[in-house]
């Protein structure tokens, strides 16, 4: 990918932003999901509704929040509700069209671990935990996942099922009584993945410009499936790239303080 005038991370964020529609109501996780959702809002989906678990509904921050509860989120929101209401009326109530999550560990069926590396009772690394994710994963109408590829993050078997994706695949969600679609899209810095309609295993459907199948496989801990017709992701447009870079610059400046 050397020689490209955009980074893999920028391509990831922009590809993710393109998957969002103007009518979507997004429950936004912090980090990469937050950047993607706001790029969508600043480009092709100006009326998208962004919801953060701190209770801000319809927020439109000028800089990316560092936390899920920065003042900017409330200042620009349509309204801000108590956290119990957020989880009851808005998430559990089925109002969220897209739950947008990151992951520390991910498996081929979209199951996510953000709890521990190693054994739960004697962890090698104690990660922050699930936060809102377990119910975002089960109550949102669909789930999008975004993360940078590595063998450490995309693993054959996750250490802990923080958030349920498609479980062991197939109709595992339905068997557990979960009536939402679960993960329908995975956007990495290498490719766009969609679950196979039957097995629900994530399958590469589009490679980002300059990325080869080998690149994808080398940075993934399981044997990668590719769709019959793998497309090439359109590169970032000048507008997309400028919007993202401006946002990142504003954000960096703001977070370093006055």
């Amino acid at each position: 990918m050397s020689g490209a005038d955009f980074t893999p991370n920028e391509m990831m964020t922009i590809a993710a932003s393109r998957a969002l529609k103007n009518e979507d109501v997004c429950f936004v996780g912090i980090g990469a999901p937050s950047a993607a959702c706001n790029i969508a809002r600043l480009t092709h989906a100006p009326d998208i509704t962004l919801i953060y678990e701190s209770g801000t509904i319809g927020t439109a921050p000028d800089v990316l929040p560092l936390s899920i509860g920065d003042g900017e989120l409330c200042d620009t929101a349509l309204t801000t509700v108590p956290v119990p209401e957020m989880f009851r009326y808005w998430l559990q109530g089925g109002r969220i069209t897209i739950g947008f999550l990151g992951a520390a560990q991910l498996d081929r069926f979209g199951n996510i671990n953000t709890t521990v590396v190693g054994d739960y009772d004697h962890p090698k690394v104690r990660l922050p935990g699930g936060g809102g994710a377990p119910e975002i994963a089960s109550s949102s109408q669909e789930v999008f996942i975004t993360l940078a590829q590595s063998k450490r993050s995309m693993v054959e078997k996750i250490d802990f099922y923080t958030s349920f994706g498609h479980g062991e695949g197939g109709d595992h969600r339905q068997r557990l009584g979960i009536d939402t679609k679960g993960p329908t899209l995975l956007i990495t810095d290498m490719a766009i993945w969609k679950p196979d309609p039957e097995t629900k295993e994530f399958t590469v459907v589009s490679l980002h410009p300059g990325v080869t199948r080998d690149h994808v496989q080398e940075t993934c801990g399981w044997t990668v499936l590719f769709a019959d017709d793998v497309e090439e992701t359109p590169p970032p447009s000048a507008l997309e790239l400028a919007t993202l870079r401006d946002l990142k610059a504003r954000t960096e400046k703001a977070h370093k303080g006055a």
């Binding site: 912090i30 801000t80 108590p82 119990p84 009851r88 922050p128 935990g129 699930g130 994710a133 006055a258």
Partner: protein, 285 residues
């Protein structure tokens, strides 16, 4: 009946060794000054409850005050892990801590149930999630009409909750606005509620009728501590000190650096120091 007290007295009178205690604040309005006062008074064997234990609980755990944590997200939001908390969970340093871990939805519902006087919260949660395997306080209950299996968790009823709010009036009624989080629920769910505020005003007569207010008869003590939420923020008063959160990652990474920082900024400090810490953050008030 509510009393206006200096923070040292409000903490001394309402917190005890062995208590279950919530210092609540959802990014916004974190009661840092109250937590630092509790650290100075060297309480021990606390059960620390909070949805998002961040820097403040990292500090309390690092000082060995906690025997148990009840939480749903233990991170420095946007920055990374909590390194003192990791040291306690992974290495038992400075002491082992017991962990009762939930999701945000469960904790929010559990506070709500506590405020509502119920023994448990019932919600649609934890479906397929492994926390239900490792936490015996996550159980199932069947809807008596549809048969659907729902999740149940015990209501949260802290011995005492500490929160920070914008202002109190002269009678001791408390106003919270902006990102209100779960603070109203945490205060109403607790046996005792202690509130630090930025300021006291005569009355709330000119305010909108539907604001989040804790009537004076639901509050045990109020302490006026301007800046008391730093490095968190107070909507309408001062901004979040994101730089301080980024800095914390380095301080907490090292046991000695942590001790030295705590000595200087907490143990040798007083509640009045908080006003100075937010001076430059008040710019766009």
């Amino acid at each position: 009946m509510v009393r206006f007290l200096p923070l040292s007295e409000a903490v001394a009178e309402n917190l005890n060794d062995g208590d279950s205690v919530a210092f609540e604040g959802f990014t916004h309005l974190i009661p840092t000054a109250a937590a630092h006062e509790a650290i100075r008074q060297e309480f021990s064997d606390l059960t620390l409850i909070r949805m998002t234990p961040d820097v403040v609980y990292d500090q309390m755990v690092g000082m060995g005050m906690a025997k148990k944590l009840v939480f749903s997200y233990a991170g420095n939001p946007g920055v990374g892990l909590l390194r003192r908390l990791r040291d306690a969970v992974e290495n038992g340093f400075p002491r082992p801590v017991e962990v009762e871990e939930h999701s945000h939805a469960a904790m929010a519902n559990a506070y709500e149930a506590g405020a509502a006087g119920l023994p448990c919260a019932v919600f649609r949660g934890y479906r397929g999630a492994e926390l239900a395997r490792v936490n015996p306080n996550i159980r199932r209950i069947a809807c008596p009409f549809t048969g659907e299996e729902l999740a149940a968790v015990p209501a949260l009823r802290p011995d005492v909750s500490f929160i920070h709010a914008q202002k109190a009036d002269l009678k001791g009624n408390v106003l919270i606005e902006g990102i209100v989080g779960v603070q109203k629920e945490a205060a109403l769910a607790a046996r005792r509620a202690v509130v630090t505020v930025e300021e006291v005003v005569d009355d709330f007569d000119d305010l909108h009728p539907n604001l989040c207010i804790l009537p004076h008869w639901t509050v045990s003590a109020i302490s006026v501590v301007p800046g008391g939420a730093h490095p968190s923020y107070t909507h309408g008063y001062y901004a979040r000190d994101n730089a301080a959160y980024l800095e914390w990652d380095g301080i907490a990474a090292d046991r000695d650096a942590f001790r030295a920082w705590m000595e200087e900024h907490v143990l040798q400090a007083v509640p009045e120091d908080f006003a100075r810490r937010v001076e430059t953050l008040r710019a766009d008030r």
